[in-house]
């Protein structure tokens, strides 16, 4: 084992050199965006390399995915360090790779997904879980890679319930106006013993669909992966394409994108507040929050021509820019509505008591599961991809502005609600600063040729990662979408397990404010 001396934020370059010591390495600097360093490791040294990187202070496994690139599938790990992102690529031969979830537990769900899509399994042989594969999926079910050798029945952990508990089936068709998602609530009659989710009802195979499309056409589908985070996912895919082609959007267009992202964060947090009031049964509070939400959506429609900001982002820049005067006039009024409703809620004892100690997540759980966004910040982790992804690269509009990661401790529904309110206030301030700095609807032309790039954005649900590989005539050969919901639904299981009763589940789900569409893609 290589002794890793604890030092201040180990920048990804220093880490790359230390990984060189392992031998068999090739450091490839990833594209124009300065924040990403790509390291190619060999299969044998993968485990050692993962230990080294996981050991670095503040290292967090942001994503793990596979690609059918060469003759054998290549495994890519995306590590988020203080100094930016580190991408390790490894060729996997023989359909087995060392179990990375033992080192970084956050990798478990990705291991299950890689098994379903590419058929390669971690070496330990521990049972995996079914994610996107419907139970009746035949061998002809479309996959990104080739079919897994072992049939799923042997690999997947059975959801058997033993002893005196019983499984309360909930879904997939749930309350009105709520997405289809199947919960298996294992309960002892009073409190919840275990929760598991089936998400294959909403799997539209977006990563399979993006193959062969140009970034511009791919963006149309990427935005609809998780409609409520259309801007964030669109921005991540556009940034990935720009990183692959080595261009950066003009600063004014980047600021337009940032305005759209902050507007999206605002209306999502208003919608979350309305859902929390509905879950706790405070109907007047819910109406007040929905009034604020509607006014924010109308601000979006007036500024960008679409209530949910579809079509604003395009590869290279922004397709539309808002009229600064309209935004300066309407936004403060709409946000004032939200602020007044939130202050009244925080002074309503019945509401606050209902949220306290409901769906508790500890910082240790958040770190172990690799949670992102308000859910992680509510446990005290100050992770914000706008902030510390290798310092805002020159292309990022947040470069010159003070971005504070709003955190709270306690990890319960109230902490998440307070983080959302704090972020809403930050967003309005940032929008004002961006409008002052000047915005316009311009986009840099995409040069021909191919490449690979990693893009990210901070959606209202957390860090969205996208990785794109373009072939020579600019068509996507492999796209990886990882909206924030994919990570935070794992926290939802743990939050429900902290012995809450049935009526807590809608409150916990509203406080997370995730989408099943984002999880199932």
């Amino acid at each position: 084992m290589i002794p890793v001396e604890p030092r201040a934020a180990a920048t990804s370059e220093q880490l790359a050199e230390r990984l060189n010591v392992l031998g068999g390495l090739e450091v490839k600097d990833g594209g124009a965006t300065q924040g990403t360093v790509t390291v190619r490791t060999l299969g044998e040294t993968l485990e050692a390399a993962t230990h080294v990187v996981a050991g670095a202070p503040g290292a967090r496994l942001a994503d793990m995915f596979a690609d059918n690139g060469g003759d054998a599938p290549t495994l890519r790990l995306v590590w988020a360090l203080e100094s930016g992102y580190l991408l390790t690529e490894t060729e996997i031969h023989g359909g087995e790779y060392p179990a990375l979830s033992d080192i970084a537990p956050a990798a478990f769900v990705e291991e299950c997904e890689i098994y379903e899509q590419f058929g390669i399994r971690p070496a330990t042989g521990k049972p995996l879980n079914r994610l996107m594969l419907p139970p009746h999926a035949g061998p002809d079910f479309p996959r990104l890679g080739h079919r897994p050798a072992q049939p799923p029945e042997e690999v997947h952990a059975p959801h058997t319930v033993g002893g005196q508990a019983f499984e309360f089936p909930f879904g997939p068709v749930r309350q009105v106006g709520v997405e289809s998602l199947y919960y298996g609530l294992v309960t002892s009659g009073e409190e919840i013993v275990d929760v598991y989710l089936f998400t294959w009802h909403k799997h539209r195979g977006l990563e399979w669909r993006l193959r062969g499309t140009t970034p511009r056409e791919g963006l149309f589908f990427a935005e609809r992966a998780e409609g409520l985070s259309a801007v964030a996912v669109g921005w991540a895919v556009a940034a990935a394409a720009e990183a692959a082609l080595g261009i950066t959007p003009p600063p004014a267009a980047a600021r337009t994108r940032a305005v759209a992202l902050e507007l999206e964060r605002l209306y999502n947090h208003a919608a979350a507040m309305a859902a929390l009031c509905q879950a706790t049964g405070l109907t007047v509070g819910q109406s007040a929050a929905e009034i604020a939400l509607e006014r924010l959506l109308r601000v979006n429609a007036a500024a960008f021509g679409h209530r949910y900001l579809f079509g604003v982002i395009e590869p290279g820049g922004a397709s539309r820019a808002p009229d600064a005067e309209v935004l300066r006039r309407d936004l403060p009024a709409a946000y004032g509505e939200l602020r007044r409703a939130a202050d009244a809620l925080l002074r309503t004892n019945s509401f606050v008591d209902r949220l306290e100690a409901c769906g508790i997540l500890t910082a240790e759980q958040a770190r172990r599961l690799g949670l992102v966004g308000p859910v992680a910040r509510a446990t005290g982790m100050a992770t914000d991809s706008r902030l510390n992804a290798g310092g805002p690269p020159d292309g990022s509009p947040y470069a010159g502005h003070l971005v504070t990661a709003v955190t709270a401790d306690g990890g319960d529904a109230l902490a998440r609600f307070q983080v959302m309110l704090g972020e809403a206030a930050e967003s309005v301030r940032l929008i004002g600063e961006f409008l002052d700095a000047g915005i316009e609807a311009k986009s840099a032309p995409l040069p021909p040729g191919g490449g690979r790039g990693l893009g990210w954005a901070e959606s209202s649900r957390g860090e969205v990662l996208a990785w794109v590989a373009l072939d020579q005539d600019g068509r996507i050969t492999r796209a990886r979408l990882r909206p924030g919901s994919v990570r935070n639904w794992r926290g939802f299981d743990d939050a429900c397990r902290s012995q809450n009763v049935f009526t807590d589940i809608p409150i916990i789900e509203a406080s997370f404010w995730l989408t099943a569409a984002g999880l199932a893609r």
């Binding site: 979830s101 033992d102 537990p105 956050a106 990798a107 478990f108 769900v109 521990k126 049972p127 995996l128 879980n129 139970p135 952990a157 059975p158 959801h159 058997t160 319930v161 033993g162 002893g163 005196q164 508990a165 019983f166 499984e167 309360f168 089936p169 909930f170 879904g171 997939p172 068709v173 749930r174 289809s180 199947y182 298996g184 294992v186 309960t187 002892s188 009659g189 009073e190 013993v193 275990d194 929760v195 598991y196 989710l197 759980q365 172990r368 599961l369 794992r490 299981d493 743990d494 397990r497």
Partner: protein, 673 residues
Amino acid sequence: MNPLDILYGAAGAWLAAAVAGLLAGSWRPGLRACCGLSALAGAAAAAAGGWSLVYGNTPVVAPGPATIVGGPLQLQMTSLAGVFVALLGIVAVALALYVPRYHEPSRGTGVYLAACNLALLACLAVLAAGGMVTFLVAWETMSLACYLIILRHPRSGETARGAFWFLALSEIGFLLIVAAFVILSAKTHATELDMMAARGHLVPGGWRAAAYLLALAGFGFKAGLVPLHVWLPEAHPVAPADGSAFLSGVVVKLGAYGIVLFAFRLVPVAGPWPGLVTMGAGAASAAIGILYALAERDIKRFLAYSTIENTGIIVTAFGAAMVFRAYHQLALSAFLLIAGLYHVANHGCYKTLLFLEAGVVEHATGTRDMDRLGGLVHRLPRSAVIAFVGTLGIAALPPLNGFVSEWLIFQGLFQGFRTGSHLTAILIVLAAATLGLTGGLAIYAFVRGFGIPFLGMPRTRQAAAARETGQPVAGPALLAVACVALAVGAPVMLAALSRTARTVTGTSLGPLLLPGKLTVIPAHADFSAFSPTYLTIFLVAACAVPVLVYLAGRPRAASVSVPVWDGGMVSFRPRMQYSAMTFSAPTRVTFDALYRPSVSVRRASDDDPAGRSGPVHYEAQVTPVFERYLYRPVVRAVEWLADVIRPLQSGDVNLYLLYVFLVILLAYLLGAV
């Protein structure tokens, strides 16, 4: 011709049945003859019991030579014992109809049937005992016969343990009963019960109280009052179905008979406190009994705890009757005595029925664990209907007899204010409140007791493979008819019982109790009135009206039957139903101070905390408070004492000579004094 003569016939038939059982061994026609004789005897006993209710006490008779049983064999058929004899008869008939199809004739069947009939005979002797010695000898014979019954299937240590618990506690109880009788007969210089009752004034107050408390404790062991109840949940599951039905239906009732015998006939103690003590013990037994019933998965243990609850209700009624007598409210006292006796008959019927049905379920599926049953209503339709009638009865739901008797007991308890003393009134209302809690929990327990095994989807293959053919139905059906008859015919039964109360408390409540032909007044007309017969008729009519309206106004469009809405899920699995323990989880949480549950959970994500979902295992165990904190210390103390005393008998001859010398010396000294 008096009821006692009919009982000779019954006794003779039972004796003959016992001998026939012994001779038959495993010969099927022989066993059938034994059951026939037993049924005949049962019918005779039922007739005698019913007649004795109205006939009053027969004179004491001493048939046969005086020293057959080491003392004068004195028999007397009192009307107080009439209900119990009638119940004994009906249960005997039901068991006789049930046994042939339940027991496969094997080597021990003959002996077992002989023991059963012997037990029935002993019970009859206890109830018809005119003298102290007859009573005690018959009581002990009954205990031993029941011990043999429980040991029918000695296949596992569990059976031996359950039988031993029964015998041990029975013997302790017997000692206390003997002590009580000795005190009374010593003071009144008589061994005949009537003589003792007549000379009751000779017994000074202190001895009278001591005798009553000893009797209460002694009979409490057999009746199952709470701290003394431990043998019931141990013995019932291991006894065969008809054995445990007999135990719960009749033997436990003899405990109640003993208490009412001492309280009302032999030694009416002055002052309210014995009544309050009895009522307190009864209320506590009722509440704790039903709470433990809710924490049970085994059907028979669940029914055993329910027996404790119902005995608690009966004893509470008798206790309240004693309290009202102490405050010279004789009408109310007689009314509550009648209500208690009526509840004895009711509980005897539906509890025996439920135990027989539990036997059918175990016979058909091979298991008694509720969490392994389910969906039996489709596979055992007839048994399900009969069990439903029994469940309606025991859960005290309106049309049936359980409701009538509990309603009468509540009417009596609610008139606590007539005692005049505030403290007593409060205590009586407190007992009524405890019974109210018990009533609510009883409905909750029996919805679970009937719902989990009979409704829903079968949880295991055995439950799915259950078949009705060949299962005994006649016995439980008879008891179901008895329950309905007791409910509809309640006024008739109460009229007969009022004659019994007159023989014991001396107040004739007849006209006051039943002003109209079918309405019942709880001793004071200004309080309330209630007619079980009209209630049943009205309820049946009320149910019929919506059915008729539906049939008349039914939509003509073709109706489409669609599976139950399940949220669009692919398929329901049996594990997605409430199980016995999860259904009773709310009480386990509310009363965790009593239960002290110990929970063990194993989840897939425990060993590898990375959000993996997979198999889950959840277990919640309820700690047996009485066995652990009351009986275990007593047993350990006895063992310790035994270790201390053992050296005395070390087998050394010199030591024995020393003992002989010391005894002689002591005798000399005592003689000299």
